[in-house]
Each structure stands twice: as C-alpha cells, then as structure tokens.
Amino acid sequence: MKGLAIVPAFNEAGSIGNVIDEIRAYDATLDVLVVDDGSADDTCEVAARHGAEVVRLPFNLGIGGAVQTGFRYAAGLGYDLVVRVDGDGQHDPAQISLLMPAVLSDEADICVGSRFAGPGGYRSSATRRLGIRLLAGTVSLLTGQKLTDTTSGFQVLNRRAIELFADDYPHDYPEVEAAVMLHKHRLRLVEVPVTMRERATGVSSITAIRSVYYMAKVLLAVLVGMLRRPATPLEDA
C-alpha cells in the first residue's frame, strides 16, 4: 500500500515544517508532497528542508489547482492512497488515523474529516459557520446524502478517487463541487468527526467579502454541475 500525503501550501513557511514533521510522526512510511502554490515566502525551502518532495507551481492556481497537481502526481506514480492535509496546521495529522479505516476497509472511496459531524464545536465566525452550513445543506440536498462539512480539505482517498480527481477537479472551494462530482460518478464518501485547530500562523486565503463571492460562485458551480456533462465519462455502476 503506497500512500502519499498531499499538503497544499500558499505562504505557509511558518507552519509547513511542523505539519510535515507531524505527518512523519503519524506514519513515517507516508511520502509527503508539498504543493507550493506560488508562495512568495520560504514555504518551498522550509518544506524541502523538512524532507518533503516539493512541487512548485509557477504561479498561484488556488487551492483546487494546487491539490489537483498533487492528485496528478499521485496518479502518475501509482499511489494507492492519498491523505490531504492543509499546510496551515489546521488539520492534526494524528487524526489521520480516524480517516483511514473507512477507506482501508473499502467502505468508502473518500473519507472526509468533518468539524460538525460529532460533538465538540468548531469555533469560527458566525458568518463562516453559516456559509459552511448553507453549502453542506445544498450538497446534501443534491446528493441525497447527509453531509455536515463539505468545505473540509482533511481527507483520505483511494485509487478510484485519485484517478477521478487527477482528471477533473474543481477550482475554488473544490471540496464542495467535488462532493457533487463524487456523487455523480457513484463514488462513496463518508464523513467522520474530527477536531480542527486554529491556524498556527499565516493568513487564511478567505476574507469576508471574498467568501460571499465564493459562496455565490460555488453555489452556481454546484447547481450547474448537477446538469453538466461530466468531463470524464461516468463509469457504469
């Protein structure tokens, strides 16, 4: 079982080293690929110093394009399993163990760590929580599966999901559209409760005005996505 941890990072020099060390501490056999999404700081150097492979994008593609780079890498090198961990330290690599069983037992093609699936609150601004809820509600409605956190990038994916996303992955807030894509391609998604940390350093790429814009954009993309012909052919189930 060849596993790869994909860590997208944009100006995360302050936290990326720690994230890599923690992933190694969780499982030293996982290869770590940092996708440096056009950072202006030392993200790339820090990551290389901590022993990760670094793929450096020539300019900022946004989270979707960055993560897809990782999926392409994983698909090309024949990895069986991908773990996604954000470079800002928000995801606790020790909790990867909570995400693994569902995928390893082939109960799901992708397992997502949800902040809201279990007890224990996720502390965030009210508007942000509202946005996350609204997106989750829309996706639940469209997919007919109760989802609580469709914006979580803390995920474990198997080969089928890797190949699908290497071919076609959405751009902004990709997880929301990806949930709809998975549903259309009849891949199985499960959520397990995790707790997330406050970001260690750096600035979130999501500001208040932008998040409204993204909300509108993502809702449009999701709604249109239900009607759209898939870029890669659906597998017959």
């Binding site: 150097e45 110093r49 793929v55 751009h171």
Partner: protein, 142 residues
C-alpha cells in the same frame, strides 16, 4: 427641423455606413498583417457587414424598425443591433478566456511536475549534492 416619423435621416445613414466600412477595413488590415486570427475576426466581420447593410439600406432599416415597434427613430435599431453584436463579441471573449485559463492551469501543473521530476533525476544521478539541494532548492522563477 421636424423629422418625418419612422424615417432614417440621410446623414445618419451616411455616417453609419462610413463607420461600418472603417470597421471592416480595420479588421481586414489586422487579418492581412496577421495581428488578428481569422477565427476571432469572423465575429467582427459579421458585425461590420450587418451594420453596413442596415446603415446603407435605408428602406430595410425603416421596415425592421416598424416591425419591432420603433416608430419614431429607426437608427435606434442600428444601435440595438450594434449592441447585440458587441455583447456577442464579449461573450466570445469570456469563452476564450475561460479556455485559456483552464489551459494555463494544466500547463502550470505539468511544468511544476516536470521540474520536480527533473530535480529527482538530478538527485539520483548526483546523490552527494542532495544535501545542498535540500538546503537550497533550484532558483525561484521570480
């Protein structure tokens, strides 16, 4: 001077015709000098031709204006048609931009992955320099 209702003033027809011909000439010149690709020029040529026809063919413009309910000032139809064509050109641009954007994402990803592949090969060929590289990865592109 009072206009007869539903008639296009001659001066408007002449001015609009000249403008349309100018547009056509400019587009032709841009194609000829290879600064504008034919596929992008087609919409502009269509715009120029339609506007020229509507400007020069006064009876036609008046007739179309009365069909669509423009009773007093037929050249308004000319503006409307011109506006529609401009919208079509803009929409076409959005399509082209979207496609270029998607393509540049794929290019950026491939370039980045190829660079990583190259660095890996260098490491295999010259393992002793791996430590140097870890400390200072290849020069930044900017």
């Amino acid at each position: 001077m009072m206009l007869a209702a539903g008639q296009t003033p001659l001066k408007v027809s002449i001015a609009a015709s000249i403008a349309s011909i100018l547009l056509l000439l400019i587009v032709f010149e841009l194609i000829r000098s290879r600064r504008l690709r034919e596929r992008y020029a087609l919409l502009w040529l269509a715009t120029g031709v339609v506007l020229l026809v509507l400007s020069a063919w006064r009876g036609g413009l008046n007739a179309i204006a009365s069909w669509v309910g423009v009773e007093t000032y037929p050249p308004a139809v000319l503006f409307a048609v011109a506006l529609l064509f401009v919208l079509a050109v803009l929409l076409h641009y959005s399509l082209v931009l979207s496609k270029l954007g998607d393509q540049s994402v794929v290019l950026a990803q491939r370039v980045a992955l190829l660079e990583l592949e190259l660095r890996k090969r260098d490491r295999v060929e010259a393992p002793e320099s791996a430590a140097d590289e870890a400390a200072e990865p290849a020069a930044r592109p900017r």
